[in-house]
């Protein structure tokens, strides 16, 4: 399974094996990982699964939808050019070694 690494705001790193097809949000919440809230359950309604991705890995993701773009305007920590919602990132084999950074807060 592809390995996804989560880097917490204070630098702690945790790597999870994530089944292809699952979202990065679900991988985090189902492992009880801190910092990814996902209060709407992955329905692109709440913007509490905000992450930023490594700039040189951004090209591995499909372009974001207008909806994701709109939700990112409402994140608790101001969005960056490499911000994404982790509920909208479905893991593929190409994402093996992917790294996401968890913001200081989601609410």
């Amino acid at each position: 399974m592809p390995e996804i690494t989560f880097v917490q705001f204070h630098g702690a790193r945790e790597t999870l094996d994530v089944a292809v097809g699952n979202t990065i949000m679900f991988a985090a919440t189902s492992h009880g990982l801190e910092g990814i809230v996902g209060e709407c359950g992955g329905n692109a309604m709440c913007a509490t699964c905000h992450v930023s991705v490594e700039p040189d890995q951004l090209h591995l993701l499909p372009a974001m939808t207008d909806d994701e773009d709109a939700l990112l305007d409402g994140t608790a920590i101001m969005r960056q050019p490499n911000s994404r919602l982790s509920c909208q990132i479905h893991v593929t084999p190409a994402l093996d070694g992917f790294v996401v950074h968890v913001p200081e807060r989601q609410i």
Partner: protein
């Protein structure tokens, strides 16, 4: 401020779960117990009438968090435990097995239960309800085998399930006593747009009529008889005619109850040691202009956060713009604010197309926004409403009105 027995949360749904988490996030070090009457870990209900019903029944996707998370945060989750009474003087609750659980602060997050259908035949095999994961699983399996389904009640739950059944190819009949599906929560314009959309998928509506009895052979349901004598054949009947708030615990303990457990804008009951949150709580909402009781994820989560802050010594009254979503076939309905009963309604976009927005006004100003397949409008509307900016029907009807631009202007 909270006694040594800590916080006892009765009800392990979205509100109860969130309160436990928010207490720990806020640094509460006392005991936190989350008591529910179902077995297993606390789980999400919204998918039960949507993706879970459609899918292959993967229950692993439903829990909020794994057991290890609750262990790590010292949240004691007790399933299969029904609380039957509150002893306010002794500050403890009594369970169905006569166990006493003491509390420093008691939180009622007891939710609602389905309203029963009071007609003959309601207990036939093949008649389903939908609230718990077990019920969703039974319905999901039964739907595979049914080619004629009758849904009684055209609220969000009934229509979500009806859309799943229709997409499977079943003949679906929906019966509703009012003329407007979901009419308690949305505008008439949106309700009628949904009728047409579901009709395009082959769903048949029977509006403004009641059910007299469910027909069956000796064991199983075979159809539904309406007040005008019409008989709708169906080997599966889903009853979704609304809910009753679980407020008996509060009422029996002498606390005020009126369409739910009555609380103030801090979600406090008359007893300083008892609060109520989520679907079971009736509270004053400034956006609605009176007491409301809402059944939604947003309401549950935001109530929980508000109460956690108060219990942690940082009280702030609950003033939040409500929002809601419902997935019905290809249409994702999203609501920001309170739109039901609004007489002045301005649709933007074609209400027979795949995406449009409906603006609803009360007392001449924007009270809520309903969107179909326009999440970005929905997000902007939530932010716009929270600013309290005065938006009039004339402004929205102007050809060059742009919601995201109006929101940016209101926020700056």
């Amino acid at each position: 401020m909270i006694g040594p027995a800590g916080v006892l949360i009765v009800g392990a749904g979205q509100a109860g779960y969130q309160l436990a988490v928010s207490l720990r996030e806020g640094g509460y070090a006392g005991r936190v117990r989350l008591v529910g009457d179902e077995q297993g870990l606390p789980y999400q209900r919204p998918p039960l009438s949507k993706s879970y019903l459609q899918g292959d029944g993967n229950a692993d996707l439903l829990p909020f968090r794994p057991q290890t998370f609750f262990d790590k945060h010292a949240i004691e989750v007790r399933g299969d435990t029904r609380v039957v009474a509150i002893d306010r003087e002794a500050r403890r609750v009594i369970t169905a097995t006569d166990e006493m659980l003491e509390y420093g602060h008691l939180v009622l997050a007891t939710g609602t239960r389905n309203r029963p259908l009071p007609v003959p035949g309601h207990d036939l095999a093949g008649v389903h309800a939908l609230r718990t994961q077990a019920e969703a699983e039974a319905l999901r399996v039964a739907m595979h085998a049914a080619d004629a389904i009758v849904v009684i009640g055209a609220g969000f739950l009934g229509l979500e399930a009806a859309a799943v059944a229709a997409a499977r190819g079943a003949q679906v009949d929906v019966v509703e006593t009012t003329l407007l599906p979901m009419g308690r929560a949305i505008t008439a314009v949106m309700s009628e747009a949904f009728i047409r959309q579901h009709q395009r998928q082959g769903i048949r509506f029977h509006l403004g009529t009641g059910v007299v009895r469910l027909l069956g052979d000796s064991v199983r349901v075979t159809g539904v008889e309406l007040a005008d004598g019409t008989v709708l054949p169906g080997s599966l009947v889903l009853v979704c005619i609304g809910v009753i708030p679980n407020a008996e615990l509060a009422a029996d303990a002498g606390l005020p109850v009126a369409n739910g457990v009555v609380v103030d804008e801090n979600l406090a009951t008359e007893d300083p040691d008892i609060s109520a949150i989520g679907d079971c709580a009736a509270y004053p909402n400034r956006y609605a202009g009176g007491m409301v009781r809402l059944e939604s994820v947003q309401n549950a989560v935001d109530h929980a956060r508000c109460l956690a802050a108060r219990l942690l010594g940082k009280p702030a009254p609950y003033h939040v713009v409500p929002w809601f979503w419902s997935d019905q076939g290809d249409w994702k309905l999203q609501i920001a604010g309170f739109t039901a009963g609004c007489q002045i309604v301005v649709p933007r976009g074609d209400t027979d197309s795949r995406d449009f927005t409906v603006y609803a006004f009360r007392d001449g100003r924007l009270a809520g926004v309903e969107t179909v397949n326009r999440p970005s409008d929905h997000v902007a509307a939530r932010r716009l409403l929270s600013t309290g900016a005065v938006i009039t029907p004339e402004m929205v009807a102007a050809p060059d009105f742009d919601l995201r631009r109006a929101t940016k202007a209101a926020l700056s």
